[in-house]
């Protein structure tokens, strides 16, 4: 469980931790979109510089981010590989019929690889520096316009925040059940696949039952405190847009302008 970095939050007090979740979400999504403006080594270099700077600003060591990419590395390499094989143009190094490795293919592969890694890095920055509950609030605030179209945004975000609140309990409980089964002589991760599956049943069954009980108790507690799904609710947690959030968005605009200037106009690769 400790290995998974993507989607985790690391408490801290960096400039980025302090940013409004709305600013971070908007900037993060926007960054992924403007990645597609880049089409030469200058623009990619600029994006890399920007990404590394943002990572630096989070006050979280680079190795944490690298660990975040690791579980995705095979997916990334596979995509890059396809890209190399099926892009033609420029000098051809290897030619086996439909499979060719060309200059453009290689360059494109490298770009795709960079793009992927930067997307993972930037999303990791957002989740590592934002409390899940703030992220939920941010998403809620950004999706608010959808309420006009009868999308139950508030209900979704309450659901999301409650699920987040129960994840630690669920993990604790999984550990407890596993320990209890171990004490009864179960061994996990050993034997044939079928055998391993069988040892999982006595874990998931109690977890499932206890989750149901949990849900019922939670529902009772919420009801007693006056929760009605259809009711209008006020919000206690408030998001505050600060000057630094505006700076963050300005930086994104600046980056866009620089990218457009550095971009090779006309025909490039792809």
């Amino acid at each position: 469980m400790n290995k998974l970095i993507l989607g985790r939050y690391l408490p801290g007090d960096s400039w980025l931790h302090d940013l409004d979740p709305r600013a971070k979400l908007v900037a993060g999504v926007y960054f992924i979109l403007i990645l597609f403006i880049a089409n030469n080594w200058q623009t990619y270099a600029l994006l890399w510089l920007f990404t590394l700077l943002v990572m630096k600003l989070s006050n979280i060591p680079y190795r944490v981010y690298i660990r975040g990419v690791r579980p995705l590395i095979w997916l990334i390499l596979f995509t890059v590989f396809l890209q190399i094989l099926f892009t033609a143009g420029g000098t051809i190094y290897i030619d086996w019929g439909i499979i060719t490795i060309s200059e453009f293919g290689l360059i494109n592969g490298v770009y795709i690889f960079f793009r992927f890694v930067m997307i993972v890095f930037i999303s990791t920055v957002v989740t590592l520096t934002t409390k899940p509950i703030d992220l939920t609030d941010g998403i809620n605030a950004l999706l608010r316009p959808l309420k006009k179209f009868k999308v139950p945004v508030d209900e979704w975000s309450l659901m999301l925040s409650i699920s987040l609140r129960f994840i630690p309990n669920l993990l604790d409980e999984t550990q407890k059940v596993m320990d209890a089964q171990r004490a009864r002589g179960s061994e996990f991760g050993e034997g044939s696949l079928v055998k391993q599956m069988k040892t999982l049943v006595p874990i998931f069954l109690p977890l499932f039952v206890s989750s149901l009980n949990r849900a019922e108790e939670l529902a009772n507690g919420m009801e007693v405190r006056g929760y009605q799904a259809s009711g209008t609710r006020s919000t206690f947690r408030q998001l505050k847009w600060k000057f630094q959030d505006t700076i963050c968005l300005m930086a994104m605009i600046g980056l866009t302008i620089a990218l457009v200037i550095l971009r090779t106009s006309g025909v490039a690769f792809h």
Binding site: P132, R165, N169, V224, R225, G226, R233, S234, F236, R237
Partner: protein, 270 residues
Amino acid sequence: MKEPIVQMDNIVFRYDRRIQQETISNVSLAVEEGEGLAIVGDNGSGKSTLAQMLVGLLTPQQGSIRILGKVLNDNTKWELRRQIGLVFQNPDNQFVGTTVQDDIAFGLENLNMPLQEMRKRVEQALEMVDMLEYRFHDPSRLSGGQKQRVAIAGILALNPSILVLDEALVMLDPKSRRLLLSTLHDLKRNNGLTIISITHDMDEAAAADRMVVLKKGRVEMEGYPSDVFVKKQELEAPFAERIRRILAQHGCGVPNKYMTEQEMVQWLWK
């Protein structure tokens, strides 16, 4: 004469209608406004069941419940829940918020309360249970007693007229319990709060205005704590009463009536 604030008439309840054994059979109870009623009884005697019926989580199969003059049913329960709050036996799965203060605010949000008012109420409630310094903590990572205090604050913030406590103080250390009991007593005296307290703590029961002994879903005895403890010798008596009985056994000529701790001390000093 004023109508009782809570009036239960001939309540009958079974969890499983196929089974003859009634969980609650023919219970009638009246609670006056501003009264402190203690409900005691063995495990499984139906105390929690009764509490859940009081807030409309369970519906009696026969009989009626009137709260503040209104019959409790599916139409009135939401309105009445603004007046009657229940603190559950097990606080663990009741928490909705990821911080203590968010959790307290949950019930207030449901009332669509303005932010300023919510802030004030959250602070007051946390002060009442002496948990203000934990306002930013994760409720699921608190100790048992602290969790119970937060759960109580969550209900107190709603400012109910009637407070039902289902063994809500069992995990509190003696000092916090004394503190909280005196806070509740103040609320009772100053704001006319009605308290229905389900408890196994006989000292707490002895301090109530009236007590009810539940046995197998029936009211076995009802009256002033002093009378009940003298009549019902098998009940684990409060400290002073235990001393009185021991002294009586040894022929020390103690008065043959129930004494509070203070009276006992005075008698001993004579």
